[in-house]
Amino acid sequence: MWSFILRRLLVSIPVYLGIILIVMAALRVSDPVYAYLGKNATPETIVAKRAAMGLDEPFLVQYAKFVGRIATLNFGDETSPDPRQRYESWKYAGQSVGLKLRQAVGPSLSVTIPELMLTTTISVIIGMLCAYFRGTWFDRATMALVVMGMSVSVLVFIVLGQKLAGFSLKDAFGIDWFSPSGFEPWWERPFLAFPGDPAERLWGFIPVASPALAMWRYYCLLPVLIYVVVGVGYDTRFYRAVMVEETGRDHITTARAKGAGRAKIMFVHMLKNAMIPVITRVMISLPFLVAGSILLEYQFRIPGMGKLIIDAIRDKDFPIIQAFTAVFAAVFIVTNILTDVLYALVDPRVRLS
């Protein structure tokens, strides 16, 4: 297996270098410094900016240096006296690109990991149930619901969610469970606390609480739920189709004939054999966990990777765009390799040769 991984990695290197070459060339088609500085830029400001970013060097030198940065995972050190070593975001002076990327990963994962776990779990279970009871009223009603969920624009869910859960719930019932938007680094709060003040206890008497999870619930749960409502529709239809195919297989008929119970058939026989498409779908989603969800992060003001890239594009923050694209491409390639490895792990018939 290790030789397979190594081989795949080696093959991926020229592909990755090609991607970086194309991205860097594309980002330089029109002068990024002029695009960023706009109408008030003086010639000497433009020269100074170019020099600070190393854009005054030949393209191949820039390419080599950037590849070096990727290889050493060094996207700048904001404490360095050398502006080229600092590799600052253009928009946020004094903050390196690496710092901006690191700051954005946590908020993105706060939403995308729970969302992926919930969506996948719910979709697989519903998919299995629908497949098992296919053609019944349960199957039809469930599929009608999920299709409805996926047919409505996510923006509608966001607007309704913010209004109903983020505002009306508090306004009408005094329940302040969800913030309409915003984010706080919830992991910086204690995971367990034993509040002495009854006002800080749940329902006034439960003496154990988790301020970290409470903070996560306040800022992240609503976007996660919205994500799940939309995502479940697509995933359930897919998993149902996979499971339906699975229910017709000989081993399921045999299991039934041997008197296996419904739960055992579904969760042991069907699920195990349907793992390849499940893994494929989950693994395809992994790069987007890191990249975040642009729309949700933007609308909920979550300072994650999705918001970072959309802001960078809007503000023409060239160093961020370049580094983000490189990181995303790398994650995508690594995920592909990981997917192949996982195939072999869950299905002994797959050989990594």
Partner: protein, 606 residues
């Protein structure tokens, strides 16, 4: 069993997560910035008003704008008195400054023993020399470019030294900066230009201690060390998300102002809002200000409605929900909650401009002027305002927005080509040599009209085409990205263009500068207007101090421009604000931003 364990763990976690979050602290002001906030906290790197909204509450400038007084006027902030000046024999002007004594930088580890030291004249020179440091990429060098005697030479010498591998030498002299004592200094400027004082109230010229820059280097952008009423503690700024300002415990004794507007009606309005009640109280009036940044407006609006924010600008899509558009009065349900509404005209100059060097639409002969005047008369500003701005914009003649000296009474100047007057427009078009919109050869007049493609510009341009079409002129729209529009204007390619200017400082001189021939493209003078007599008036205006004679000159220049018509359709936006009853002393303005120190919180009204 595994499933049951997983579900139990999830339920347990959810239960632990349901604990209520701590309620807002007493005496804390929560406010929004309707953008993703500042991009730097280093004055010399700042540019946007969002940078200003934070920086000017942490750092201080030599001068500031009076908070309540109108018309706007300056007063000393770090200075003990307003600077005085003398004109020198060589035509330069020397300003004499005296600093307040006892002004201290906030405590910070960059100082010896962590205790902030007193601000002295050397700090002023140091802060201004930073503009010439290539490490700051000359972001704001334009403030002093060619203004302070010797600053350009200093910049060039230091740039050469840095290129040669030497350190930037802050101790090298600048001939126009002369220290008299720790508290007194003189600045000699190349030409006696009054706007120099305006620069001294702009946040970029705020005073920074060298110890902080030396210790934090480029990270001074995230670690401000100022003399102002508030501080930003470590970790209190989450870029793009929020920032918290905390009272600076070593802030000197400054008091809430008592000077109200000179106009009795405006003064009475301020009194009715209780803006005079805290006069004489020590600043700042709040211990802590939590500022959240909002980019999509719905979140901002919901948080304001939920009572989580002390005030807000009203986004246009929520105007109907908060104000009666026709009367511009606050709706009753808001008034019943004790919310106060404010309408604040902005220093905007939104216009349709002509390239005066263009052979068709440019030029200064009677015929050429007549063509532009005809287009101006064909333009229906009221209809545009109604259709695209809910009727909330202010239309006016000339380039000087409301609130500034030289703004015509009710927006109507003695010389006016404000439309719609289609008959007169057709007559003037014939004078211009285009009867019915056709030239002598019967060829229709087609004008290339450049505009940005953002917002509702497509619809606005269609309306412009309708108006010009009514007199037989065809506008050929070129809707492009703003950056491309900017290039087209700077390269003088755009025959006619939709553009806007926001005043850098509240003086008509700033807008009149756009027509100075030395500001022509690629400078900010997009019109490429070039009249020696106008230039002479502008250069005279530059050195005049405010007064009736200056106002008369401004009016003459304004009327000359209206007659020459290098632009038409002037408009200014009005920003609407809502203020919760527990926020005291808030007088919304976007002309300056260091007013957080005047705001107070009345928790009893929450």
């Amino acid at each position: 069993m595994t499933m049951i364990r997983v579900l139990s763990a999830a339920a347990g976690a959810l239960l632990l997560a349901l604990v209520p979050l701590a309620a807002a602290q007493k005496g804390v002001l929560q406010v929004p910035i309707r953008s993703d906030g500042p991009k730097t906290l280093d004055p010399v790197r700042g540019s946007t008003q969002y940078d200003d909204q934070v920086i000017s509450n942490v750092y201080e400038t030599l001068l500031q704008w009076k908070y309540l007084a109108r018309p706007l006027a300056q007063e000393p902030l770090l200075l003990a008195e307003m600077p005085t000046n003398r004109i020198n024999a060589d035509g330069t002007q020397t300003w004499h400054f005296r600093l307040k004594q006892g002004v201290r930088f906030q405590d910070d580890p960059c100082f010896s023993g962590g205790k902030g030291r007193e601000l002295v004249a050397d700090d002023v020179f140091y802060s201004w020399k930073r503009f010439a440091d290539p490490a700051n990429e000359y972001d704001n060098f334009r403030f002093f470019d060619g203004v302070i005697v010797g600053i350009n030479e200093f910049k060039d010498q230091q740039a050469d030294a840095v290129k040669a591998g030497k350190e930037f030498d802050y101790s090298a002299p600048v001939s126009g900066l002369k220290k008299l004592s720790d508290y007194e200094f003189e600045v000699t400027i190349a030409k006696p230009v009054y706007r120099f004082l305006y620069n001294l109230a702009q946040f970029q010229t705020a005073i920074v201690p060298h110890e902080a820059v030396e210790k934090y280097r480029s990270q001074i952008a995230t670690h401000p060390v100022g003399t102002g009423p508030f501080m930003v503690k470590e970790g209190d700024w989450l870029p793009g998300q929020r920032i918290t300002l905390t009272r600076n415990p070593t802030f000197r004794h400054e008091v809430y102002p008592s000077e109200l507007p000179t106009d009795p009606a405006l003064a009475a309005a301020d009194r009715a809002l209780g803006l005079d009640l805290d006069a004489g109280k020590s600043l700042p009036l709040t211990d802590r200000v939590e500022i959240s940044f909002y980019v999509p407006d719905p979140a901002l609006w919901l948080d304001f409605k939920a009572g989580k924010l002390g005030y807000t600008q009203v986004p246009s899509e929520y105007m109907e929900e908060s104000f009666v558009i026709r009367t511009k009065k606050l709706r009753q349900d808001w008034a019943d909650q004790g919310v106060v509404g404010h309408a604040v005209p902005l220093l905007d100059f939104i216009f349709r401009g002509f390239n005066m060097e263009d052979p068709v639409v440019g030029g200064y002969t009677e015929e050429k002027k007549a063509l532009r005047q005809a287009l101006s008369l064909a333009f229906d500003g009221q209809e545009m305002n109604k259709r695209f701005y809910n009727g909330l914009n202010i239309l006016y003649d000339g380039p000087i927005p409301p609130g500034l000296d030289g703004y015509p009474k009710d927006g109507i100047a003695p010389v006016s080509y404000a439309g719609p007057d289609v008959e007169e427009a057709r007559r003037l078009l014939a004078v211009a040599g285009y009867p019915g919109g056709k030239d002598a050869n019967g060829k229709p007049l087609v004008i290339e009209y450049y505009s940005s493609n953002g917002g509702n510009q497509v619809e606005q341009t269609q309306a412009e085409q309708e108006f010009a079409g009514a007199i037989g002129v065809k506008l050929n729209p070129r809707l492009i990205d703003f950056s491309e529009l900017d290039v087209a204007v700077k390269k003088k390619k755009a025959q006619m263009f939709g553009y806007a200017w926001g005043s850098d400082y509240p003086d008509a001189e700033n807008n009149l500068m756009l027509f100075w021939s030395k500001a022509k493209s690629p400078g900010v003078g997009a019109f490429n207007y070039d009249r020696p007599e106008y230039d002479a008036m502008y250069e005279k205006l530059l050195v005049m101090t405010p007064g009736p004679e200056r106002t008369t000159l401004i009016e003459q220049m304004r009327d000359m421009l209206i007659e020459d018509c290098p632009f038409y359709g002037s408009m200014a936006r009005t920003r609407f604000w809502l203020v919760r009853p527990w926020v005291r002393n808030f007088k919304p303005t976007e002309d300056f931003n260091n007013w957080m120190k005047y705001l107070a919180v009345d928790d009893s009204k929450r």
